[in-house]
């Protein structure tokens, strides 16, 4: 789970899924673009799709700029800080938090009543 290669692989897959998802969002725009074409021009090869050649800035924008924007958005989604990830315990990492008590520990605030507990039992362990 903590293996760095597996983690980066997971992040990569997540990024790819994000880009694919964004591309899917563009799908509804395609029929709208198609319907805007004049029906009389359909079938005239070389006329409908490309009435004139693309200019250099537009080519760069379409084939370099847009994919780049997609990758940036996908990457940002994959690497965005996750809520609660900081609080997850990882074995071997130092624990810097203050002690947290569960149960009423208010009696510890008074003067110590006893130093020992005769006959106490229990167990301990390490991991």
């Amino acid at each position: 789970m903590t293996h760095p290669v597996r983690r980066s692989l997971r992040v990569g897959v997540r990024g790819a899924c994000a880009v694919f998802g964004l591309a899917l969002l563009c799908l509804p725009a395609l029929p709208a673009a198609a319907s805007s074409v004049d029906p009389a021009q359909i079938g005239q090869v070389g006329n409908v799709g490309s009435p004139q050649g693309l200019s250099l800035p537009l080519t760069l924008l379409l084939f370099v700029g847009l994919p780049l924007v997609g990758f940036i958005i996908g990457g940002a989604m994959a690497f965005r800080p996750q809520r609660g990830a900081r609080r997850r315990y990882r074995p071997g990492r130092p624990w810097t938090h203050e002690p947290v008590w569960f149960g009423d520990e208010s009696s510890l605030e008074h003067e110590p009543k006893r130093a020992a507990l005769p006959g106490a039992g229990g167990a301990n362990g390490r991991w």
């Binding site: 789970m1 903590t2 609660g84 609080r87 997850r88 315990y89 990882r90 074995p91 071997g92 990492r93 130092p94 624990w95 810097t96 938090h97 203050e98 002690p99 947290v100 008590w101 569960f102 149960g103 520990e105 009696s107 510890l108 008074h110 110590p112 009543k113 006893r114 130093a115 020992a116 507990l117 005769p118 006959g119 106490a120 039992g121 229990g122 167990a123 301990n124 362990g125 390490r126 991991w127």
Partner: protein, 140 residues
């Protein structure tokens, strides 16, 4: 106490629910502290439990978990030890450490409470529960 720092609210509630569930089921007192030890773990937990209980005859259990030092300590009072033997506590420690070693702090503690409550049984029939379960005979 910085409760919100170490755990999310949901995690905090899960731990508290597990602790209270064990208390209701057994009639014993349960305390849990997640934080580092200041002194020797065994001495510290004994000293803490000695001052948490109203009288040394109370049925009470203290669980200390030190995630940084990777150490867990379960301390039972004399009368709680008759219901939760050292052997049973050792099994609970094993449950906890196996969860902790894969990073599941909350799950390990929640299971520990459940297992401790199972070992202790209900307050009225604690003696019969102990005699029904051969693995707990070490408590006598």
């Amino acid at each position: 106490m910085a409760a919100g720092e170490a755990f999310t609210r949901e995690q905090h509630e899960r731990l508290e629910r597990a602790r209270r569930g064990a208390e209701n089921e057994t009639g014993m007192h349960f305390w849990l502290r997640v934080g580092e030890f200041d002194t020797d773990p065994r001495l510290e937990s004994e000293h803490l439990l000695a001052n948490l209980v109203a009288t040394p005859r109370d049925d009470a259990v203290l669980i200390l978990v030190a995630p940084g030092a990777r150490r867990v300590e379960i301390m039972t009072t004399h009368s709680a030890r008759r219901r939760i033997s050292d052997q049973a506590a050792g099994l609970v420690v094993l449950t906890m450490t196996s969860s902790f070693s894969v990073g599941d702090l909350i799950g390990g503690i929640v299971n520990a409470f459940r297992q401790l409550a199972d070992a202790a049984g209900h307050p009225a029939d604690s003696d019969t529960v102990v005699s029904e379960r051969p693995q707990l005979e070490g408590s006598h």
